[in-house]
């Protein structure tokens, strides 16, 4: 009996140190696939390794043996004794394995639900498996269905729509205010990991230019070099406020760096162009009253977290819809798998018919020889179509019964009726 098995670990079941050991080397996937090919118990295979998950998907006749060999492959890859990681593994069989790969591809099993990278990673892992000729009928079809499910989830639900990181949320807001970020100028005030991340996102979204200010000018120069920005001194701050459109503030200052009167006095010179403060410093860098000024928008870290919180909730809600889509597709795939059991019988039915056609044609060969080539062809077509018409009902009957428990008795009956076993 052919079964599909999925074994692996993800960000939930295994600590990062363990996942690292298994996915550290880029050639791990290739090696894993090579190991799988050598094993007689595995008829088809697929190996996925990303920073958040390592898993194998196999089609096998002998489930227990396949499971054991996959675990030993993983242990060899990561150089970890089997006993140390078996408790971190999840094992899915049959429909559960199908559901699992569909959920992974549509990013429902990701650390950040809805993140888009995983689909690309699965696609390249599948390309690798196909290149090593270890994927077969079932895995091929399953992967294509997985891509299809991912597409459906993306277009039919909003699971990957709203921003779920601080810097993305900030960029989204900036776009809602300025429409496009080209020709906009950013002031990076102070530096920190999160501020730099936000700056990087803004730049990759087309921000025109950037200036960096810091209490110590040397540090400003240092940061500015990273972003090909222009360093300015802290004393120029007020002058810069007249120029820039977006301020990313993250200084370690105890007091507010940007005060109400500072911003207010520059508005007229700015001709009321909108000004957007992204304040990710704790304690805050921008006085909260600044938000009351016309055309000035201040978002501090809590506001941004609030947005993310809301977006997360929205994604979770959408994930419910997505799970329904996955379930639908699992049922469809299950149906298709069942029809596979009928395939050998159908093939031998067709072969038998073809055999009969051939031998009967041979018997009447002498009479047929008198006909013109066109007439001969007509007769051949006629015989074949008679044979096909006779078989068409039994074949579609068998296909219909493919997902019934009584299938085997129907297959038996068909084999006996057409005496297919004798050859």
């Amino acid at each position: 009996m052919t079964i599909i098995i999925s074994i692996g670990m993800n960000h939930e079941t295994a600590p990062v140190e363990m996942r690292e050991r298994l996915s550290a080397e880029p050639d791990h996937t290739v090696r894993a696939l090579a190991f799988m090919r050598e094993l007689s118990c595995i008829s088809e295979g697929f190996f996925l390794s990303t920073c958040n998950r390592v898993e194998a998907l196999v089609v096998t006749e002998d489930g227990d043996r396949a499971k054991k060999s996959i675990i030993s492959i993983m242990s060899r890859l990561g150089n970890i004794p089997e006993s140390r990681f078996t408790s971190n593994l999840y094992v899915f069989e049959g429909d559960e394995a199908i559901r699992h790969i569909f959920r992974v591809s549509s990013s429902l099993d990701s650390m950040v639900v809805g993140e888009p990278q995983i689909l690309g990673q699965i696609k390249s892992a599948y390309a690798e498996a196909a290149r090593h000729k270890i994927s077969g009928v079932i895995i091929n079809r399953m992967m294509h269905r997985a891509f299809h499910v991912a597409k459906r989830v993306r277009t039919e639900t909003a699971v990957s729509e709203a921003a779920v990181s601080i810097s993305y949320a900030a960029v989204e807001l900036a776009k809602k205010i300025f429409h496009v970020l080209d020709e906009k100028k950013v002031l990076l005030l102070g530096a920190g990991e999160m501020a730099e991340l936000a700056a990087r996102h803004l730049l990759s979204n087309g921000v025109g230019s950037m200036v960096v200010a810091n209490r110590t000018f040397e540090r400003a120069v240092e940061v500015a070099e990273k972003f090909r920005a222009r360093p300015v001194s802290f004393e120029e701050l007020v002058a810069q406020l007249e120029e820039v459109d977006i301020v990313v503030a993250s200084t370690a200052s105890r007091e507010c760096v940007i005060r109400y009167d500072m911003v207010k006095s520059c508005l007229r010179k700015r001709r009321n162009r909108p000004l957007f403060f992204i304040d990710i410093a704790v304690p805050r860098d921008v006085e909260s009253e600044v938000n009351n000024l016309d055309n000035v928008y201040v978002y501090d870290i809590d506001d941004l977290k609030g947005i993310i919180h809301m977006n997360m909730a929205q994604r979770r809600q959408e994930a419910v819809k997505a799970e329904r889509i996955v379930q639908e597709e699992v049922v469809k795939f299950h149906k298709w798998l069942k029809t596979l059991a009928v395939v050998p019988t159908i093939v031998s039915l067709r072969e038998k018919a073809e055999c009969i056609v051939q031998s009967e044609m041979k018997k009447t060969g002498s009479i047929l020889a008198e006909l013109t080539p066109q007439q001969k062809e007509r007769v051949e077509v006629l015989t074949r179509s008679v044979a096909e018409k006779i078989l068409s009902d039994p074949i579609s009957f068998l296909k219909r019964k493919a997902d019934r428990p009584s299938l085997n008795s129907y297959l038996d009956a068909a084999k006996k009726l057409f005496s297919l076993d004798r050859e």
Binding site: L173, K175, K176, I177, F178, H179, V180, R268, R270, R271, N272, R273, P274, N291, D294, N295, Y297, Y299, D303, G306, I307, M310
Partner: protein, 277 residues
């Protein structure tokens, strides 16, 4: 009349479509609603064309036809903007408004019978055409200002509700506000100039302190002030939006109020709508 009711039905249908689009955000629905809106616009155009031909004068002499012409010019302005800005959600605001005007128009009785020879003037046609195009554009300025205030409020108060996702960016809304304001002002100015030329030709004086003339001038001054503030001081965003809403209220007052309550030769009564209203 057939074309009028046809247009009314289509506009109402388009309104429904645009509202569903606003909620569901599906492009397919927008495409249908947009096509229906265009079809309604064509019906209205045919209606006005036929009436112009039959009357021999611009068919915008009563309140009924004035309202439907207002609706027509608004949709016309929107269709032009849609090509330029591709701003789908604007339709969800325009369609209900113009359908509403048409609906009111349908309950009124129109002008019947022949019109006096003094109305058969090309200057009058120019006056009405440009003035209404200005009104249509200002109506869009007004609607965009409302959209701006809704979005600005949700960003300022950090309550990113359902409107936040559906409206375009603040910068886009402000740009459309600016654009429609400028063109609207040009049309309004032309409307007033051609109006006074027509007055000179038909009654012999450019300006006769008629209430509607005075109020139109006040409207013009308000819009001129807004444009002045935008161009010199750089007024934009919230304040400009509020001001353009205020200006539009004055405009509506001029359009309806000055005609109804203040009398004068511009009033719809004196144009012969009395019968049956």
């Amino acid at each position: 009349m057939f074309w009028f009711y046809m247009a009314l039905a289509l506009e109402l249908l388009a309104t429904g479509g645009f509202i569903v689009y606003l909620i569901k955000q599906e492009n397919r629905i927008f495409r249908y609603a947009y096509r229906i809106l265009v079809a309604g616009f064509i019906c209205l155009t045919i209606m006005f064309g036929c009436r112009y031909y039959a009357l021999g004068a611009p068919p915008v002499l009563g309140l009924k036809s004035a309202l439907s012409f207002f609706s027509w010019s608004m949709i016309g302005a929107y269709l032009v903007l849609q090509v330029k800005f591709k701003l789908r959600v604007l339709g969800s605001f325009i369609a209900p408004f113009s359908a509403f005007l048409l609906l009111i128009s349908s309950t009124l009785h129109g002008l019947t019978g022949p019109v006096g020879p003094k109305f058969k003037s090309l200057w009058l046609a120019c006056h009405i055409g440009t003035a209404f195009m200005g009104n249509g554009l200002f109506a869009i300025t007004f609607l965009v200002a409302i959209m701006y205030l809704i979005l600005e409020h949700s960003i300022k108060k950090k309550k990113l509700g359902s409107f936040y996702n559906r409206l375009p960016s603040l910068a886009t809304l402000d740009a459309i506000n600016h654009y429609t304001l400028m063109y609207g002002f040009v049309f309004l100015t032309f409307g007033m100039i051609t109006g006074s030329i027509y007055a000179q030709l038909s009654v012999g004086t450019y300006w006769q302190w008629d209430p509607k003339e005075i109020w139109s001038f006040i409207t013009w001054l308000c819009y001129a002030a807004l444009i002045h503030q935008r161009l010199t001081v750089g007024w934009r965003g919230r304040r400009a939006a509020l001001m353009s809403i205020f200006c539009f209220v004055i405009l509506i007052f001029t359009f309806l109020g000055a005609s109804f309550w203040l009398g004068g030769y511009h009033s719809f009564d004196n144009l012969g709508v009395r019968k049956g209203f």
